[in-house]
Symmetry: C2
Subunit: 716 residues, 2 copies
């Protein structure tokens, strides 16, 4: 066993050790949740219906995705086969990525739909008990997603490279696992899209028939679609977002490892494995942060979550000092020639960027600031002005994120460039942006825990409401629910920011792949000249696909909601006893119908986005595909920000009016607010979040098929 | 006088001759309009109020624009001065562009607000009389805009180059008149933006207080804002769109002439002057087409307009055969080495592209097809589903235009490349796309006549309605008005398509300018590598500015509408006699208030978009500015299509319901349709059309400042 292999195995050992620790904590937290009491019979009945519906959706969704994934992976193995019969590496990585993402989603979701009722029951004792149950339930998703992503990448690296242990094998291994990212993003697209369609079709359908036609309140047990609505929160926010961030972390790891190959002379294998070690340290920091979340009866639970977030961030910042020092100081003849503090600065920029994104999202979607108030005020003159104002806010909300992303990319690029790497003839700038991306994703496990906290508390509130629990309990679950709404919104901001950075990274990795396929050296440049007609047209198509995809995703919600509306109307007609409480509605049928509808409607938009970059690459070649990728990313980030923030602002403008402003509930302003909220639903929970996944999917597809585009693109 | 100068003067003589003919026809058509009878006293009173309001707005708007233009032109003269004290060429061209655009707008508008009452009075006699008056009134705008644009470019070319007559002077002249395009787009931006804000603020304000609060019908003379609303149609659709297409034609001419410079060895001065001659032939074709517009009492007037359009298109296609043959066959040693039929093919592609755009726009916005019907159907479940459906339609409507633009660019590029030019070592492909752009803009005068026909018939309808004219007259003006709504929508489609092509052309011209500034030869490449961080950030900023600008433009309408609402409420309160008809409302004050409001609100978004590309160019250099320009163009075209088509579809979905579908007028579906229509107003008449101008403004700014970005950009 050579020195190189020893080093690699040591580093992988650290990563593996942390993974084992994380798995242990997943078990600990799961046991904690399951130990809690279950509450009343009524609660258990409702929770059982939610659980049954959620798991039924998930298993049917995974079946659909599984079939599509197997077809795609086999095709992939053939089209990327090169001189071999079949590309087993890409096939295996794709399947591994899809599988790990699925398992993480399954574990997270199972614990989440088990935690909701326990959080509701816990609220009878204390706010802190309920908070702890909800948050630890969410923490399981956070840890499962980040840890399985890490285990998958690390494991494949071991099998494809470290096992053989030669320099060549180790340097080649990251290129062999790009399929992992593709598999993960493939699952993420359908999970987010299907989940997003499900959750909003159920929500819109339940509201339109229940609230508007039948005049019964939200979460009323007489509404046959109410369980489907509660199921929706889990499949959208928990399973969907989990798959989204699984894919961000996998993409970031793989992209950064590929950039590390070019720097092998300077950093040795440390440059390649740095992303994994950094991620592992982030998981440790997150676990410690998770145990700091505690609240008192009269305190804002958001403060408790914030304390944990600060602790996690500070620990990440501390852990990264020795890691950058030890791993990015340069090896052999380059030892001491690289200023690792510059790279540490990049990591801090990434951490700061998370904060900036969270703050900007809060500004645009919270009731305390100008944008939401502006929409609420415009609601006084009716739904039209409410909508106009919300669209103006959503469009405006793209400004600040672009400025901070640009500043982060630019400054980390500059730090990387001035680290000493560039004087040695390497592209240090790109590695700087890669490290900023790692910094941003370091706190991922914690952020995801906060996110999944959202649907758990939302469900706990719904269960409390439906089971007719006493007022004092409801107040507690409502407070947690409000806090969960905030964390869900913030996570979307974080997700889109990290998707943008991860895609920039994958784009650089794509260019490296193309250069390798063209036989160009690491120092040579492969310019993506947008002045060439085919590149311009690729770019044009990329941006257009973002618009087209948003259209089909939004429309899919409308179609699936129609199924729900018809079913609820049918039940009200056929069972007149539902309205006076003498007959029980058939929740299961509604769940079933939304499930079928959502799965049916997700296929078309999903296939469009898988086919588009491949078509561009094969027709117009690798350079055009690069233009497609870049401009699709730009348009996708902007559109996602517009849809997420506009939707979030509408939601809270309605809540702001409900608090008694501009006439309060049942005023004309409130009616207008409800219209805005409904419009915003498919924006913020279906199309917007799917776009984060979309842009990463584009980059993993092009990365996997790079050499194909080089060889077979009609225009070279 | 050398041979070269003789040729130039001969060609300019043809262009000048056509211009004189066009001016004569402007006078003939104007005299025809003014000769017509004026109608009843009531009509005259209303028409006088509209005219007064429109001209007052225009003169105040021009004063504001004038001040801004003088400041900008002086600054421009200094910052682009190079080794001289002051760049008089750019200064003079800028002022000339601004002035010609203003004069064309003024003439067109004056005739339009004089034609409206005569068209109303003419409807008493026959449909054909009313149609002819409205269309010839519109034809004045069409001819004034295209002819003045041509005279300006031709005149400056004479002064800056042909007068001296040396080869060097002639080859340098097109570069000296880029300021003309900048001046024209500067005026166009503010004209379209200010006009767009005015028209929709008046419309939304009048509707919200009149229809919703006071419950009086549209165009009711008791509404104090009704005159402002009628004025708005003129300043938005006539003056705004006129300035928009003035700028498209100017930009296309200049961009194509610059590309012609590089081809001087092959085509001589013919390559440079081809755009002007082609434009002149288009004007002749349009004049003939205009005289073919005639209808019978029981025929659809749209058929009459279509006949004229077909005649114009066919004549353009015929005229271009000898022109391409004579001018693009190659000179000297290259004679016969270039296949001019290829270039003729490019021109036909451009003509076909106009048709495609008109058809696609019709598909998405007319009541006969799936999209509008889908929105109307969704209105049954309320305003929220109406909005969701409209947004889905708008986003979807980007697909087909991108496909046809891409096909047009690609095929014309290919035709240009295979014309023989590329074998001679020249970039024939780009010149091919330039000629496609000329083809598309050849019918511009006629299209613009159809467009301005819109506000004239709209006003004629309003005057008829307000003056209480007999039913039979109203039916006629209503039929013409419906036809005008269609032509207005189609022109927007045409405008965005031609803006996309013109910008692509200017982008190529920009790259040529940068190469010249860098001292590179015509055969060298200046790649715009979007893989470089600064280019990526420029591109990111470009797309973001499109979102931000749309937000400010939409919001500006809301703000200006608030002023109107307050004023109308005040008048209803202080003059209770208005509602029972015993007191007259103060129309003038409303007009005045919208004028002030619109002019105030247009400044911020206007300045943002002028400052943004300059900031990017100075901070990140010429390559980054190119990335900004390209991606802003892509995002701008897509956003404009989304806003224009979404808005148009909502408008007609409401009309479809009003025809008796889904419950007809006063049904719940109709209420939802009204909400969609109101939301669509600032989309389709303010933000959308301003975006066409925006992208051209970006390209003229960067073109003018290209050498500055090369010398002073912080990142080279």
């Amino acid at each position: 066993m050579g020195d190189l292999q020893t080093t690699v195995l040591q580093l992988l050992g650290i990563v593996g050790g942390v993974s084992v620790i994380a798995l242990i904590f997943i078990v600990i937290m799961t046991r904690y949740v399951f130990k809690q009491e279950l509450g009343s019979q009524e609660m258990q009945a409702i929770a059982a219906a939610i659980k049954e519906g959620a798991m039924a959706f998930l298993s049917r969704q995974y079946k659909t995705i599984g079939v599509l994934a197997i077809v795609v992976s086999v095709l992939l193995g053939f089209v990327t086969r090169g001189d071999d019969i079949f590309n087993w590496h890409t096939f295996v990585s794709f399947i591994a990525g899809a599988l790990c993402s699925g398992i993480a989603g399954f574990i997270g979701m199972y614990v989440a739909v088990s935690a909701n009722i326990r959080a509701a029951a816990g609220a009878k004792h204390s706010l802190n008990r309920s908070l702890t149950i909800s948050f630890r339930g969410g923490a399981v998703t956070g840890l499962a997603v980040t840890t399985l992503s890490l285990i998958g990448v690390g494991g494949l690296f071991y099998i494809f490279g470290a096992y053989e242990g030669t320099e060549e094998a180790i340097k080649h291994a990251p290129l062999l696992i790009v399929g992992y990212g593709f598999g993960a993003s493939f699952v993420a697209l359908f999970a987010q899209l299907g989940g997003g369609i499900y959750t909003k079709a159920a929500d819109v359908g339940a509201d339109l028939v229940g609230k508007v036609e039948a005049g019964i309140p939200e979460d009323d047990p007489r509404n046959p679609a109410v369980v489907a609505d509660l199921v929706g929160d889990n499949v959208g926010d928990c399973a969907g977002r989990g798959a989204d961030l699984f894919e961000s972390t996998a993409a970031e790891n793989i992209g950064a490892m590929i950039l590390g190959i070019a720097l092998f002379p300077v950093f040795g294998v440390y440059g390649i494995l740095f992303p994994l070690v950094a991620r592992a340290s982030g998981i440790v920091a997150s676990i410690i942060g998770m145990f700091c979340v505690k609240t008192k009866e009269n305190k804002d639970p958001m403060n408790a979550l914030n304390v944990g977030y600060f602790v996690t961030t500070i620990l990440c910042a501390l852990f990264l000092i020795p890691i950058t020092k030890y791993m990015l100081g340069g090896v052999g003849q380059f030892e001491g020639k690289v200023n690792y503090w510059n790279f540490y600065g990049c990591a801090l920029i990434g951490l700061a960027l998370s904060f900036a994104f969270v703050y900007i999202t809060q500004y645009y979607t919270s009731i305390n600031f100008r944008p939401v108030k502006e929409i609420a005020k415009a609601s006084q003159t009716g739904p039209a002005t409410n909508i106009i104002s919300g669209i103006a806010v959503g469009l405006e909300s793209t400004f600040a994120p672009v400025v901070v992303i640009s500043a982060a990319i630019f400054s980390s690029y500059w730090l990387g460039k001035t680290s000493g790497l560039s004087e040695l003839g390497f592209n240090g700038g790109l590695y700087g942006t890669a490290i900023a991306t790692m910094g941003m994703l370091a706190t991922c496990a914690y952020i995801l825990a906060m996110d999944t906290f959202g649907p758990i508390t939302d469900n706990a509130g719904g269960i409390t409401e439906m089971s007719g629990a006493p007022e004092e309990v409801r107040v507690k679950t409502d407070r947690l629910d409000a806090c969960g709404n905030t964390t869900k919104a913030l996570t979307k901001g974080y997700a889109v920011g990290s998707a943008a950075l991860a895609t920039f990274l994958l784009f650089s990795a794509y260019l490296d792949e193309v250069k390798i396929a063209l036989g160009k050296g690491a120092h040579e440049i492969f310019p993506v000249d947008i002045g060439k007609p085919e590149v311009f047209l690729g770019a044009f198509a990329g941006a257009m696909i973002v618009f087209l995809f948003s259209s089909t995703a939004i429309r899919a919600v409308g179609k699936a909601a129609q199924y729900v509306i018809l079913e609820v109307r049918r039940q009200f007609n056929e069972r007149p006893g539902i309205m006076d409480g003498t007959e029980k509605p058939d929740y299961g049928r509604c769940v079933d119908i939304v499930t079928k509808g959502a799965l049916k409607e997700m296929v078309l938009p999903g296939l469009i986005v898988v086919a588009a970059p491949i078509a561009v690459g094969l027709l117009f070649g690798a350079e055009s595909a690069a233009g497609f990728l870049m401009v699709a990313t730009i348009a996708g980030v902007l559109m996602a920000l517009f849809l997420n923030n506009g939707g979030g602002a509408w939601d809270n403008a309605k809540k702001f009016i409900e608090l008694g402003n501009y006439g309060g509930k049942k005023s004309e302003a409130h009616k207008a607010g409800v219209v805005g909220d409904t419009v915003g639903d498919p924006f913020k929970d279906t199309a917007g979040p799917s776009l984060h996944v979309l842009i990463k999917l584009f980059s993993t597809i092009t990365l996997v098929l790079a050499s194909l585009f080089v060889s077979y693109g009609l225009i070279k």
